[in-house]
């Protein structure tokens, strides 16, 4: 999972290149391949309060960013927890770098998920005005909490006095992030929810299904390459600190 010190920049470069291509293809597909006008009945979603359906028109295109960003946030949460456990077991600095880079990118992708999610909700469930779609829906709320937890980890880390305390706190809090991911993923099953359970129910047009799959891989590659980039950056910072101490 952690690339070796010598391989990390190469892997990062490869991931970034693939991610860049993936994003380009996704953008092309989402604007020129997916249909503008969907035949009636394929792009309808149920409103949260009543049972009536609304037409999504073109607003569904935001899913091609929203979905991969959500998957990456989940991945970052898992990486932080795995990094925390691995650091406690091995005490290798590389795992610290992994936890920190996962939290940093998780913070960014979490923000993308929340923003795109609320933009879409404002359009689909609200009145179109900013914030009108925020309805304390479980998935939305739990995602916000996960985002706050990523921020808390980075703030706590900075506040620690000694390097040892900092490393301990980072690892322990990374582990505590772990249980939040199942909460976000299960949130649509507890209580009343308006978050779509499955996009394949919603987006039955074959072009959209294909684009969704390409977007999941392509955009995720780009976002994961950010984790790798931050990882290299943090490793470099650790090595500089070591050289300065020596």
């Amino acid at each position: 999972m952690t690339p070796g010190t010598s391989n990390a920049p190469l892997i990062t470069l490869a991931l970034s290149a693939l991610g860049l291509i993936g994003v380009e293809i996704t953008l092309y597909l989402s604007y020129f391949y997916t249909p503008v006008q969907i035949s009636a009945g394929t792009l309808y979603v149920v409103t949260p309060d009543s049972g009536s359906t609304i037409n999504l028109y073109e607003s569904y295109r935001i899913f091609f960013i929203h979905l991969p960003a959500a998957y990456t946030t989940a991945l970052c949460c898992t990486l932080a927890a795995v990094g925390g456990i691995a650091w406690l077991l091995t005490r290798k600095d590389a795992w610290q770098a992994l936890i920190v880079s996962a939290s940093e990118v998780g913070l960014a992708t979490g923000a993308i998920v929340l923003l795109t999610g609320t933009f879409w909700a404002d359009y689909a469930w609200g009145s179109g005005r900013i914030g009108s779609g925020w309805n304390w829906e479980p998935r939305l709320t739990t995602m916000l909490i996960l985002w706050l937890a990523f921020a808390a980890l980075l703030v706590l880390r900075r506040a620690m006095d000694t390097d040892k305390q900092r490393a301990m706190m980072t690892a322990v809090y990374g582990i505590l992030l772990g249980p939040l991911y199942p909460l976000v993923s299960k949130a649509i099953e507890i209580g009343q929810t308006s978050h779509p359970r499955s996009f394949s129910d919603l987006l039955s047009a074959p072009e959209i299904a294909t684009t969704k799959q390409v977007a999941t891989i392509g955009v995720m590659l780009a976002l994961v390459s950010l984790v790798a980039l931050r990882y290299c950056w943090n490793r470099l910072g650790q090595r500089m600190a070591q050289e300065r101490a020596a």
Binding site: L88, P138, T141, T142, I145, L146, L148, A149, A152, V155, L156, A159, M160, D161, K164, Q165, M168, M169, A171, V172, Y173, I175, L176, L177, P179, L180, L183, I190, G191
Partner: protein, 232 residues
Amino acid sequence: MTETARPAALPAFVALLRREFTVELRTKTLITSMGLFAMLCVVIFGLGVKGLALDETFRRFVLAALWVCTWFAAVVGLNRAAAADRNKNFFSALMLLPFDPALVYLVRLASTLVWLVITQALLVLLAVPMLKFDFFSQPLMLAVVLMADVGILALGVLLASATGRLRGGEALLTIALLPVTVPVFLAATGATEALHTGSGAAEAWPYVLLLGVCDAMFLALGLLLFGKLNEG
């Protein structure tokens, strides 16, 4: 034979717990700060909503307000306990004991739980006349409250042991504790709502289950990680 040289854990647990109670009964710092804080919360919330009609919305608001009071009272108590440890350098002495640090964790958890429950009793006593809180209609709430307390404190004691050593750690504990204890908060408010809106125990059951899972998970994490977080 080396095992016999090691003192038994249970008497040590009792001795440490008795020490916590003796100190608290002499100084009364935790109970006064948590209790006063809770009283102030009720008064401020009450002032904010005075004159409102006592309808369903009001009742639900009171329930939410009481959970917020509980959560922050717990943070106040944890911070005060950590500050007392720091001032007397007591915590490092505790970590030198020839026991697993998990024992120290359990002692702190048990004592804070007692203070929090006393604070909550005070909260309810005040909220019944001041916020027209109808507590006694739902005896099952006692279990929900206790389970939620354990969940909040299980992680609170763990994190407070690290933030307590820092200057300005009080604010940090608030920031650190809220995101990770939100599952408990979600489950507690969900169960409270189900019980008080009259949907009955069946509706509250999934939330109680979630509370149980959170308690078990957070306790296990606390027991495992407390020693690691405070080593050296």
